[in-house]
Symmetry: C2
Subunit: 90 residues, 2 copies
DNA sequence: AAAAATGTGTCAGATTATCTTACAATGGAG
DNA sequence: CTCCATTGTAAGATAATCTGACACATTTTT
């Protein structure tokens, strides 16, 4: 009775992401251009997003609303990546 | 750390359903025409499917492969609906 | 203050996706 | 063979997305 979609599977077109995040297509593309997100592309070159991407957009929104700029968001994401790769326990 | 998508939320365009089910667009539309599935539509009149729809398509595929025809699938689905509404415990 | 950078809106032209309708092809049942 | 069920395929129309450019309002920098 489960069956969710793998969080990394890219199966959402931009319009759905717009609806789920309340971001404009312009914003979504701009954030990609700034390196905050890297959607995959289908055969027709259209962006396809994953659940992980969507969660990331929501985080971006939250940070932006708090006054953080793109560079800040990028830095915060980079820091989080380090966290995941670094072992702090011992 | 989760956040899946509600199983009834219609957020997949037909192409994604094709990839996830290995059904052709023709089959998907035909099954709808036969009343096996009722996708919703976006503002542009394009079909939008839910996870529930996709699971249903997979069931259809399985039954078809077993030799069941459309009418049979429909009957089986109808029976399942009854199961859900009927209380057998007591 | 003037100039430059940020973040977003919007438009145009091109490409891709989907829709509906219709007709063809295949294969099974009688 | 004929009928029917299922799928393929094609055409023409509409919708969605892409890229690139320019505009605009806010900061930020010089």
């Amino acid at each position: 009775m489960k069956s969710g979609i793998p969080r990394r599977q890219a199966c959402f077109p931009i319009r759905v992401v717009m609806e789920m995040t309340n971001l404009s297509a312009r914003q979504i593309r701009y954030y990609e251009e700034q390196g905050l997100i890297k959607p995959s592309r289908n055969e027709g070159n259209q962006r396809m997003f994953s659940l992980e991407d969507i969660e990331r957009f929501l985080e971006i929104k939250k940070l932006i609303k708090q006054g953080v700029n793109i560079a800040g968001v990028k830095a915060i994401f980079a820091a989080k990546e380090l966290e995941k790769k670094t072992d702090y326990d011992e």
